[in-house]
Amino acid sequence: MERILIIDDDTALCELLIERLQDDEFVTEAVHDGVRGLERARSGEHGLVVLDLMLPGLNGIEVLRQLRHTSDVPVLILTARDEDVERILGLEIGADDYLAKPFNPRELIARIRAILRRSLRASGEERPLKAGDLQLNPSTREAFLGQKPLPLTSVEFSLLETLLHEAGRTVSREHLTETVLGRELRPFDRVIDVHVSNLRRKLGNERIKTVRGTGYLLVARPAPR
């Protein structure tokens, strides 16, 4: 089973989490400060990092920022604060999903599974996807805009893949959340929107249109000749 790294300064919580995750056959390691957490997360030994945003030493946002320079290991952020800004910032920097404390442990496990499932799916062999000047290579998880490679995170790749499959048609937020994040869309859940806006920024040129109250739509542009 995949190894999971927990970075949280609440040692009692970490003990409980390790115990609980063990029941679901996850091998878990816990670290209690940001500096050490970053070091361990970079080691590449883990399939997923659960990162609390409030950490002594180096705070969670900074850990994530530095981690993303070298590694694209999936990250699930935890936060006990009520600030939307922090969650959104975390997602923008490259976290896959977030969970607010206090959380239902089953929910945590479901999200961990969903993220792992997506990153494992990467190995599945598929034909390249094309729409206009956009090209995706699901087997290598590489994306190209024209001739230029697009640096996408794993979530963004899945998101673009889903939108490309349905290029020119509106894809609902529910469907996107289910296929990309592997879970149900909750009321007042903005995770998918943040990922879409990250992707939109990378693609530029208003390729992804918002269909208000419904979902998103990818506009295919013809490849330049």
């Binding site: 919580l13 609980r20 206090p102 089953r106 937020r173 009321p187 109250g213």
Partner: protein, 446 residues
């Protein structure tokens, strides 16, 4: 241009111009003569006599004519017998050349300066030069162009000085006004610029006091926010641990119904904390609200879509009647939480399988420019006597509707505060067919 600036500037300018006019008038209406020109008179006389000696009377007359043109001086040259030799005005000196010495440099009875000089010439002859300055404005000799130019210069110089003076006086006030406006619009970092602070007058004092005050407000608000954030963290950490522990016990076969109770209470506590924090944030936010224009219709479309997800679990439908763009001036974040609370409240209380109606009407600009938002549910409603109280924090309606409620009784209280902050009104009423209708009116942006 700021009104104060215009007022002060015009005040100054008018004063300067009136004083200028008064000065000019006082010169105009006094005789042109003064002591000083008579000092020159002696050298003038010498020049006339020299011309007389060298080139004769015609040359002397030319000098005198030139003098008259340039200075308005009327003169007549006599020999020492009192016979006129040169000059255009010899006839006006009706009393003939006055013998003797200088007469006093004072106007005579008709307000005219007269002077008579006896001077010997280089070749030994003695001449008498009699001069007079006619009464009246010297400007008469100036052309209209010169006159206009003089006044233009006066106006330009005086307006430039007044402009600078006014700027110096009004700028600190405008800067102070600017800073306080920014703070009230939510930019707590706004300060009066150091240039004003550095002044060593009452404006400087005021600016320093203002900045100290602004700093204190900023500190208070940020420590308030820090406190909210810390409390949130401190309360939620143990809750997270309790949830995990309960789940562990359950997982290991503990199927005691008491565990479900613990679980439910933990969720209730979390709900309460979230709402309390929202109240605290609304309070802090009211002081730091970010005012901007945004579309309520778009905001409601998002809220309705979210509410639809929530409603689906209870087999209810959210019906949103759009109204086109409804631009309101306010804090989008605060208004979102307010409207969200009202809509979620409706979703919570409506009977299973029913509809929640959200209707937005942009009011006519004539009717005070208010948009009207109605959120109606098909639930049990609220007793008439308690329609006002439901907007109070922690108020619980005393009927069955609330028995199973997990709400903390804060949603409508939050909504009410936010709506009031936006100078709107919020009213609850019972629908004729049963159910509660909440009506929110908000002023549209100008």
């Amino acid at each position: 241009m700021p009104r104060l600036f215009v007022k002060v500037f015009l005040g100054f300018w008018a004063t300067v111009i009136v004083v200028g006019i008064a000065l000019v008038l006082s010169f105009v209406f006094t005789p042109n003569g003064s002591y000083l020109p008579w000092q020159d008179a002696r050298s003038t006389a010498r020049e006339v006599i020299r011309e007389m000696d060298r080139h004769g009377p015609a040359a002397a007359a030319r000098v005198l004519s030139r003098l008259e043109r340039s200075q308005g001086l009327e003169a007549c040259l006599y020999d020492d017998q009192g016979t006129p030799i040169a000059g255009n005005h010899c006839g006006t000196f009706s009393d003939g050349p006055m013998r003797g010495n200088m007469i006093p440099d004072r106007p005579n009875s008709s307000g005219m300066y007269r002077n008579m000089m006896r001077l010997p010439s280089a070749n030994g002859k003695v001449y008498v030069l009699e001069t007079q300055l006619p009464w009246g404005p010297r400007q008469i000799h100036h052309t209209v162009f010169e006159f206009a130019l003089h006044w233009l210069v006066v106006l330009l110089v005086s307006s430039a000085i007044c402009y600078l003076l006014t700027l110096r006086l009004t700028r600190p006030i405008l800067r102070l006004g600017e800073a306080s406006r920014q703070i009230s619009e939510g930019n707590l970092q706004a300060r009066v610029p150091p240039a004003v602070e550095a002044r060593r007058d009452e404006f400087g004092d005021l600016a320093r006091d203002f900045n100290t005050m602004a700093e204190r407000i900023e500190d208070l608000l940020s420590s308030h926010r820090q406190l909210i954030s810390d409390v949130s963290h401190e309360l939620r950490s143990p809750l997270t641990r309790i949830q995990l522990a309960v789940d562990l016990v359950r997982k290991r076969g503990g199927d005691d119904p008491a565990l479900s109770r613990v679980q439910a209470d933990v969720e209730r506590l979390e709900h309460l904390i979230a709402r309390l924090l929202t109240v605290a944030r609304v309070e802090a936010g009211a002081a730091a609200a970010k005012w901007e224009r945004f579309d309520v219709n778009g905001l409601l479309a998002e809220i309705a879509a979210d509410a639809q997800l929530e409603a689906r679990q209870r087999e209810c439908t959210v019906v949103f009647s759009e109204a086109g763009a409804c631009i309101v001036m306010g804090d989008e974040h605060l208004l979102r939480s307010a409207l969200e609370n009202v809509v979620r409240n409706a979703v919570y209380y409506t009977s299973p399988g029913t509809e929640i109606l959200i209707t937005l009407t942009p009011g006519a600009a004539a009717a005070g420019g208010m948009m009207v938002l109605e959120v109606s549910d098909h639930g049990p409603g609220v007793p008439e006597s308690e329609l006002l109280s439901i907007f109070r924090p922690f108020y619980r309606v005393g009927n069955a509707r609330d028995q199973q409620s997990g709400g903390a009784g804060l949603g409508l209280a939050i909504a009410s505060r936010v709506v009031q902050l936006h100078r709107g009104t919020i009213v609850a009423s019972n629908r004729p067919g049963g159910g509660l209708q909440v009506t929110i009116r908000l002023p549209l942006a100008q």
